[in-house]
Symmetry: C2
Subunit: 320 residues, 2 copies
């Protein structure tokens, strides 16, 4: 039993709070993709829901908790997907949501945050600047700051993906998880190590945003000066210490992949699975492409975690 901040009973209970539209997502083998990658590939698809990413699982718990406490407002920093998800969960519950994002975030994500009725504040700088600004707004207004990966609900929400993997029809050997702040990797990893300890849990991060992966390998928080990746959803620079502690408990490896592999992954998911995905969602396929021998003949599950992509950029990437 791994020692993390997570707890299996709480994760199971979370399923009762999360809107069913975010639960029991498709999990299926993709023959065409597997043939090209030299292994058996199953896709866990987290894009077929109202916010097109897995983040709704966590924000449902956050928003449920807040309204249960009689809170009327919340603020979060977001690379784009958390903001949409919190906007969606907040709108359903009459919670005023403010999202702080980088002006450089994909326009599609920013537009959809606004469309959900959330207040959107844009900052110069990157996601870490947005985090600082969100914290300052929360202090000034006295409203709850929702912090991805630090707030246990965001990890528990993501962990429900793990429950679904564990109850799937086919056994598998490896799960590949996009690594950003760490909520998804710690959540899913906790469930794997508890229910399916033989499954290898591998986090995947872009070489251009390696802070958490470097921290994992050095077993201490390592920050970076900047990020340089198209995978905007996972481009943080300041890992959260307690999240790193959890991550070290429940993951077997953390690997870095090149931008070219992320693009090749997006292209393969389109061509062989008919899926439009954002760069972060192609990290798993990218990891297989960079180390085919490691995965040869094994059954690999990759979590396709989001599809909020600017189409013009997407077309440039996949058609290049």
């Amino acid at each position: 039993m791994p020692h993390t901040r997570l707890d299996l009973d709480r994760i199971r209970a979370a399923r009762q709070v999360i809107d069913p539209r975010f639960l029991d997502t498709p999990l299926y083998e993709c023959d065409a993709l597997g043939r090209r990658l030299g292994c058996t590939v199953s896709v866990k698809l987290e894009t077929a829901n109202p916010v097109r990413s897995f983040k709704g699982r966590g924000t449902e718990l956050v928003a449920g908790r807040l309204t249960g406490q009689g809170r009327a407002a919340a603020v979060c920093a977001s690379a784009g997907n958390l903001g949409q998800a919190l906007g969606w969960s907040g709108r359903r519950r009459g919670l005023d949501v403010t999202v702080v994002a980088s002006r450089r975030a994909p326009a599609a994500k920013l537009d959809r945050i606004r469309a959900l009725g959330a207040e959107l504040e844009l900052v110069e700088g990157d996601f870490e600047t947005a985090r600082e600004r969100a914290a300052s707004i929360a202090r000034r207004r006295g409203v709850r700051l929702v912090e991805d990966s630090l707030d246990i609900e965001t990890c528990e929400g993501a962990a429900t993906i793990g429950l679904e993997l564990a109850s799937g029809a086919s056994p598998f050997d490896v799960v590949l998880i996009a690594l950003g702040g760490g909520a998804m990797a710690t959540g899913v990893g906790h469930v794997m190590k508890t229910l399916l300890p033989a499954v290898e849990v591998i986090c995947v991060q872009p070489l251009g945003a390696p802070a958490m992966t470097r921290s994992w390998h050095e077993r201490r928080v390592v920050t970076t000066e900047s990020t340089d990746t198209i995978a905007d959803g996972v481009a943080g620079r300041y890992p959260i210490p307690v999240v790193l502690d959890d991550l070290l408990e429940v993951t077997d490896d953390a690997v870095l992949v090149q931008e070219a592999s992320i693009i090749a992954g997006m292209r393969m998911l389109l061509e062989h699975a008919g899926l439009v995905v954002e760069p972060s969602a192609a990290l798993g396929v990218a990891a297989v492409l960079e180390d085919r021998d490691r995965f040869a003949g094994r059954h690999v599950v990759t979590i396709v975690c989001g599809s909020n992509v600017d189409l013009d950029a997407y077309h440039r990437w996949v058609r290049a």
Copy 2:
């Protein structure tokens, strides 16, 4: 209670036979799409499974029945999706599957049929030529001919989509169903008229392949000399009489849409829902585009029934 060849208890029992990967598919509101169409739009997504279309629901029943009877082989004509699905269901059960298809069917569909280990026989001519050829192979070899829409299992399989719509969280006003041979429309329609009689059931067919829709309006079988549509999945010319009888019982309208609307529908599903779909799966959105007043302000469910598309053609369509 509608009088068709279908029966609710049998449809419910079908869920026990169909592989879970084809069941309980995503059903979710798509805000961005709804805003553009002037109505509330929910997507029932039938593409996130091993064969990328809804046809697996029916072939699971067919193949289960055949192996239960000790049969070792089956043959079907297919526009491409039935063949893949029967190939998949047959492979799991050790059933030899032969698929007859038109040489003009999308290469992606034909490649995937072969990759599943099915024997593929190509004919000059269209889907109706393939049907004749499949019947002759079945007679010659003494194996079971699987006939889409005529075989009750294909309708019952599709009807399980209706059960899932009926148990969905949100009430809705209209369901839009792609109309080809009629299995999906009669199956889903039967469940709607039984469990949700207030829901308007509308079939949508391309103007370039109008045989079943014309038959519906004239209440007798009308055939056509040829078809001319990119929606290869629904391009039949010879409606089956008993299927027409059922269709008349359980559907409220049958409409025809132009090719330009199908293309616009595919483009909107990509841009506002992040979904790659084959032309047949865009028929519902096309119907809304051609008659916005009819759907204004209503809650419309559209069944996104397949995503097996040749990407080169797809790119030409959506980027034009």
